[in-house]
Subunit: 249 residues, 2 copies
DNA sequence: GCAAAAGTGTTCGTAGTACACCCATGA
DNA sequence: TCATGGGTGTACTACGAACACTTTTGC
């Protein structure tokens, strides 16, 4: 709670400095879609424990910061993106991991976030990480700490949220084609979607996307140029866009 | 993160005792349905700050506990339910609240949980709370700290989860009628559902409920006795059971 | 012309909606 | 007997699934 006076149940007369304190950190599962594959932003650890292993970016929450603020700050530092850009990114709290033994050094409670980013801003390994890179989801060895678990939770959450929210546009640049949007669903879900039906579904959902007025069109390689759209004002999808397995399972 | 070595970005050479530490607590939004209304378990605070005000039950996470463990322990203490019963209750992490100023005394990060309980085990105000009571959702003044926000988040989450999970059975006793199950949906969503359609939907969803073999029937007052069911093995609802507003909004 | 992707149209089946109606019980 | 809630049946409608077909580009 934080409810009753600090002396809660066990320590009668709670002294903040009395016993080993908790550290609070944030971990970031930063996902993007590139080359028809889901990619994760990972950093290579410079120090023990788990030195040399890949891990999720993140860091300590500062004394006067909320976890959300800390997450955005870390994201900006790790990716090298300008603060203004980071401020607009979709960042969402995933859950908190609090196993007493998840970090061998001390008691660390970590608030995990999921961030969805569009383009492919190649990270510049900044900060204190030895290296930061986009790696295809699953094509990295086991991650440090319990980060495999966090990453799996993030992927599952994102997949589920695509069904009933307009979240997919967070993976796309400001202006995108319906083909690109469909790519997001197909990549995250690992399925193929019927193009005509997907198009109808998206266009008939009020507020999901908004056509860009000027008739600019953009080519995605070869084929007919596609109309451009922007994200609409809606956040929820009613009715939802279920993954194909949902119908059979 | 918990990623790199303790000295993360800011504190060069992280000393756990160097500056004011974080305290980590759990807050519990314990919900139940009784008398066709959604009820919340609240405790009356015994000490400052917010002495005398209602608050969500909860408490500090102990040094060797995970947040989940702490939540179950607190739940058992506050409700007076036997540990075995509490072990089987549906407990789910909601989110973590980390605003630096949410507790005036010190820096407290709280992991909030939602618990869904069936019957009406009248709490015995145990523990250190002055009093613990079930109060109808909304019929309590403003809660202490940011507990109004937590409670609202919990209700919203539960309402949404009823749509695509089998969570509703967590509000019911081990054996229940379809009328009782429908009551859960109607109470949480605040709508009326068509009885015949609800029945079909539930019965045709594989694994949602399982009929109790022996033809025991139970009366819910007057009217025809209803068949009894138990929760099935399924956890997800495919396709979902959308709230009526979902179709029009 | 051919391949590839966008965009339009149509058919079909499933599932949700809105009812009407019968059944079993308590007062 | 009536009120109340359980249980069954049915017609209507909406929406997703599947697929045929046209259009516009690059090679």
């Amino acid at each position: 709670m934080n409810g009753r006076t600090p002396p809660p149940r066990p320590p009668e007369g709670y002294d903040p400095h009395a016993f080993e304190p908790f550290a609070v950190t944030v971990d970031l599962a930063v996902l993007t879609v590139r080359e028809e594959r889901l990619h994760v932003l990972l950093v290579q650890r410079a120090h023990e424990p788990h030195a040399g292993e890949w891990a999720l970016p993140g860091g300590f929450v500062l004394p006067r910061e909320s976890a959300e603020t800390a997450a955005r700050r870390e994201l900006a530092e790790e990716t090298g993106l300008p603060a203004g850009t980071v401020a607009g990114l979709h960042l969402e709290q995933l859950r908190t991991y609090s196993d007493p033994d998840r970090d061998p050094r001390m008691r660390v409670v970590s608030v995990a976030f999921t961030a969805l980013v569009p383009g492919l801003p190649e990270p510049r390994g900044g900060g204190d990480a030895a290296e930061a890179r986009w790696l295809p989801y699953g094509e990295h060895g086991p991650l440090a700490f319990d980060h495999d678990r966090i990453l799996a939770d993030a992927r599952e959450r994102v997949g589920a949220k695509l069904e009933y929210t307009c979240l997919a546009t967070a993976f796309c640049p400001p202006e995108f084609t319906l083909g690109e949007l469909r790519q997001v669903y197909e990549t995250v879900w690992g399925v193929e979607l019927d193009r005509p039906n997907f198009r109808r579904k998206v266009l008939t959902t009020p507020g999901f996307v908004r056509p860009v007025e000027g008739p600019p069109r953009r080519t995605g390689g070869r084929g007919k140029p596609a109309a451009l759209y922007r994200a609409g004002e809606a956040t929820a999808l009613h009715p939802p866009l279920l993954r194909p397995e949902g119908r059979s399972a």
